[in-house]
Amino acid sequence: MTEPLLAVRGLCKSFGGIAATDNVDLDITPGEIHAIIGPNGAGKTTLINVLSGLLPSDAGTIHFDHANITRASAPARCRRGLARSFQITSIFRNVSALDNVALAVQSAAGHSFRLWRPARRDPALRGPARALLERVGLADRATVMAGNLAHGEQRQLEIAIVLATRPKMLLLDEPMAGMGIEESERLLHFLRELKEQYTMLLIEHDMDAVFALADRITVLVYGRVIATGTPQEIRANPDVRRAYLGDEAAA
């Protein structure tokens, strides 16, 4: 078996006594789309917060790409190639879409202690940023202030930002949340396209999308992993059906 790109062991995170991440083990193989599903409040977002370093973990280890990143800062993790999107869109609302992506390109291009040359006229930043906007289908919206983009466009923009950091692996927190049917459809296609290039940890509510995309699925309930397996295995797992899929027939 290939060595996992992301290996999580015994990860715990609690908020004042409530265990939001409870002894989670997780292995993500290079190239796979690994979906995390679970009811609201199961701790999916918390898991991504801890994996991306925005929240410190209480216990457990995280290894990514041959390195122990358990104590690494959020920026350091991103620089290692672990990039994330947010359930609630997180972009720079007061600048243009292009500026948003250019800033992420800039971050990936090394340190930013460059205080003299104008960044907005730097082709090394603008070029790749434009290409990425093109790729997510926002080329003609490049100069629009990000806060003025439609909700779906903002979600796409965030993905462009994530890709601009030149990641090895994406942590996507409900990328389709709040999107229309058509937009979701397009995004689904796009994610499938991205699969060629990136390993993904995908949180998604839309079960059809999950079962269509994921190579493996982990089910989280009350912060605990109750099952991991292929979509077929998860579909057939009686625990999952009882605890989460709400299938009365399983009883």
């Binding site: 925005l54 997180s90 972009i91 800033l103 971050s107 460059r114 907005r120």
Partner: protein, 336 residues
């Protein structure tokens, strides 16, 4: 520490496009007026305005420095006037000990400002919000009280500076004891500060500072360790404010702890907000407005704070975006 940001960041830093907007025009006009004041004011029989203008320009440099971290970085430093005092006292104390060489005084003053900003910033930037405001205030008060307690250098009576900084280039001498020379040195350094801000704000570094203000979490999540950039901005800003401090000490030939007392820091914030935070020329507009307003109100009544205090409250409640915002609205720029 996060402050709401203006709705746009200019897309092009090119001066030609900026000329069109009102605040730039007004600010450039003011700078031009300042350029001819030493000639025009005495000719109009108002020589007193030369000193007024020089003082306004010194404050404008300080406000510009604060704007760099407050307007573009969202760091509400309530102790910024401390750097006026640090630089001023460096000049004053060196002069007191008969070291009047400007090539020693000025770099040393800025170096000390930078080091102190580094220490203050390193501690205060670990905190956020209210903590940051109060810590910067407390640090500034600390040095204010230090100034008061050191009797050798005049305590709260301050320190007279008998000789202004001397710059001997060998082939020529920059004679700051000549009022007009000093005036134009101030004028040039003001323009220099604004230009430096312009470069910094539009550079990669500037993008990071502004991004960290707009969305710190996102900034971290795209791989930028924001703390070190903020700290750098804090140090640059402190040093730039130091320029104002050493100019002030030279201009007034006097330095006292009062320049770093907390109301001065409050006034600096007022100037920045009044002029329009996060705009290049806002601090110039703000310091002109603030100092002229206080000048006018105080000739009107000795108790001008009675009017100015509520005025500030009204500005906060009704005039967000400051004078720049008002100018923009008057000239129909609908982007705010």
């Amino acid at each position: 520490m996060t402050v709401e940001t203006p709705a746009t960041v200019p897309q092009s830093p090119r001066l030609t496009t900026r000329l069109r907007d009102a605040r730039t025009s007004v600010a450039l006009l003011l700078l031009a007026i300042a350029a001819i004041t030493p000639v025009a004011a005495p000719a109009l029989g108002q020589p007193f305005y030369v000193d007024v203008t020089a003082r306004i320009m010194i404050w404008a440099i300080a406000a510009t420095s604060l704007n760099l971290i407050l307007g573009y970085g969202g760091m509400v430093s309530f102790g910024h006037a401390v750097y006026l005092g640090i630089a001023g006292y460096t000049v004053g104390i060196l002069a007191f000990d008969n070291i009047t060489n400007g090539f020693i005084q000025w770099p040393l003053a800025l170096l000390i400002c930078g080091l102190i900003a580094l220490v203050f910033g390193a501690i205060s930037l670990r905190t956020k919000g209210v903590y940051f405001i109060m810590i910067t205030l407390a640090f500034a008060q600390m040095l204010f009280f230090l100034g008061i307690s050191v009797e050798k250098y005049g305590s709260d009576d301050g320190l007279l500076i008998f000789t202004r900084s001397e710059f001997d280039f060998g082939f020529a001498e920059l004679d700051l004891s000549d009022a007009t020379t000093l005036y134009y040195v101030i004028w040039i350094l003001l323009i220099g500060s604004v230009y430096l801000s312009h470069r910094i704000v539009n550079s990669r570094f500037g993008m990071v500072i502004q991004g960290a203000m707009a969305n710190e979490t996102r900034m971290q999540a795209i791989g930028v360790p924001t703390y070190r950039y903020r700290l750098t901005a804090f140090v640059i800003s402190g040093m730039m404010c130091g320029v104002a401090g050493l100019l002030s000490a030279n201009f007034e030939r006097f330095i006292s702890p009062d320049v770093m007392n907390w109301p001065r820091s409050g006034e600096l914030i007022v100037m920045v907000v009044l002029g329009g935070m996060g705009t290049l020329f806002g601090p110039i507009l703000g310091s002109v407005a603030f100092l002229l307003l206080s000048e006018i109100l105080s000739t009107w009544t000795e108790h001008w704070h009675l009017i100015f205090g509520p005025f500030l409250v009204l500005v906060v409640l009704f005039a967000r975006g400051g004078l720049s915002g008002i100018l923009d609205r008057l000239t129909g720029r609908a982007d705010r």
